[in-house]
Symmetry: C2
């Protein structure tokens, strides 16, 4: 008959009276505390089952000081990269009985730190993806966010593990691949100017240029989505480059689409590369050569690092660096006589 206390839902008190014991005993039984008489325990369990009693997590959280929930702040849920991180994180956390609360900042980085704070207070820990937040701001708020794990950027604040993809290395692998195919004029279709991962790519390219002085590398302004790539067609053609490194797969796909509309052949006329190896990359036409980032695994690792922090395992987890793996597909091919050569 599920009598209900003052509030709507049935609580521990209802089970207690039904079983003829105190709240405390019910709690003990529900939590597997074995200092309770087996007969009484059975009675309590029966009562709980009959009333379909389920402990109220909010009350539990308050008493226990933990929510069994972690938060993740992402700048854009529409971005496949963050979707994949979320997926990996959620899956790994679920395995340990944790749920994930999402906070999408919709690219307005001014809100990010408030959002992060709010999310953190409701959770036991936080994963922060905030590529555009300034270092100063990050350092400032990091302590109040602990336990905190950073994605794709680092900080001086102590006890904040970082999981970063080695974009610099990846971009060099790609450039190297293009050069091996005979390309001598490359162009980099850059990402958002203040993005941390864009910085890393630029550094990698600098290193590459130093090592390959004979290769010309043009820098082009860009962004991080389809449209960016699509709109960049003119700039790309104007550069005279035959090997294009797009900021990521999305940009590369947009670019290929634009080149296709112009009647140009990829990779016959121009080779195009992406970055990330999102699930769709292998299904483009031609299939996209890219640097595969184990991004779901990164989400999973984020949970492991966070878990260590939550459990206060003093493992001094220093964070992890992920190496992209060059994934050669059909969008890159031998350079034909470079257009400038034809032209000259």
């Amino acid at each position: 008959m599920a009598r209900k206390s003052a509030s709507g839902r049935i609580g521990i008190a209802d089970v207690a009276v039904k079983a003829g014991v105190s709240h405390a005993t019910v709690s003990r039984v529900m939590n597997g505390n074995f200092t309770v008489d087996p007969d009484i325990a059975a009675r309590v369990r029966a009562a709980a089952a009959e009333l379909k009693y389920q402990p109220n997590p909010v009350g539990r959280s308050l008493a226990l000081g933990k929510t069994d929930t972690i938060g993740i702040v992402v700048p854009d849920l529409a971005n496949p990269t963050f979707q994949a991180i979320l997926r990996g994180l959620s899956r790994a956390a679920a395995q340990d009985g944790y749920r994930v609360l999402i906070a999408d900042s919709f690219e307005v980085s001014s809100e990010e730190s408030i959002l992060a704070g709010e999310a953190r207070r409701r959770c036991d820990g936080l994963v922060l993806c905030a590529p555009r937040m300034s270092d100063a701001e990050l350092t400032e708020i990091a302590p109040s966010l602990h336990p905190l794990v950073l994605i794709n950027r680092t900080t001086d604040a102590p006890d904040v593990p970082s999981l970063v993809v080695d974009y610099g290395h990846g971009v060099q692998d790609i450039a190297g691949h293009l050069v091996e195919l005979g390309h001598t004029r490359l162009a980099f279709l850059a990402g958002p100017p203040r993005s941390a991962s864009n910085e890393m790519r630029l550094k990698g390219l600098e290193a590459f240029k130093d090592a390959h002085p004979q290769v010309e590398v043009t820098m082009l302004e860009g962004g991080s989505d389809f449209d960016t790539g699509h709109e960049a067609v003119d700039a790309v053609l104007a550069s005279g480059a035959t090997g294009i490194l797009a900021f990521n797969d999305l940009v590369a796909m947009g670019l290929m689409s634009g080149l296709h509309e112009r009647g140009l052949d990829v990779p016959g006329d121009i080779s195009v590369t992406g970055f990330d190896d999102i699930p769709f990359a292998r299904y483009t036409t031609p299939a996209l050569t890219t640097a595969a980032v184990p991004i779901t695994e990164l989400g999973e690792q984020a949970w492991h690092q966070l878990r260590a922090l939550i459990r206060k395992e003093g493992n001094e987890v220093p964070g992890t660096r992920f190496q992209p793996r060059l994934e050669v597909r059909a969008s890159t091919g031998p350079a034909k006589a470079s257009r400038s050569a034809v032209h000259g």
Copy 2:
């Protein structure tokens, strides 16, 4: 100097002593209750600011009986459709100060109802995407999940709005489009057998067959992802159909990729259609003809319905039906002399 109470974080008590008032007064000030003297209010606010006090949401939730959080249960976070729903939901909810907790059931439908219950207890309401759950189970758990909004399926349980995409109508639009192009032999690459949205498509196709007796429609087994489409190439070719309706865009992309590998031309040899119009659909080669589902808007609507329920607005919201819009692109074209005709 942020003195801290017993626990680590600073709480309302710290602010109270610093401002020389009671907890109650601090609470009143923080919640904008104007029955407090302006001078005292200012003093409290100053103290709060200096201590960087932020109310503990868990305590608040317990006292208020609400969490300002909603949950969403999805069968697979890797599926672009659910990603888009999540995005729309999260964005709309955020606008009203609500966060979203995600629960991924990873396609194990046996866990779905437990997962839903757990999520619901931590939240003020729930959005449920459970295409494979049996009607019986759904009806059984629905009352305990209220406020509840259903995606792409309905239930007899009262006060449960449903947002459903009219897949039946959409599939008929697509089939009609193919017939207009001269195709007389179609094939439907079905989705997961027990999926509710697959059922709707099948019903739509039945209606279509009744209306177009001269058109032959072959049913093929399938699934819901890339690989399904890719593996279906043989079956598709064996069917002799020239117009293929894939379960969704993912399957269509897999199929196109497979056809391409076989050296077949789309749409020259075979026309292929998808469903959903995921963001990538326009960037395939050829761009995919599909039925566009306003899926992000659906997520947004889900919030509006849920909000009405949470606020107990007796609007008797009956749910909403979304009409897909035929999006003709380059993957469909005129039927060439049907292969059976050539053959005969």
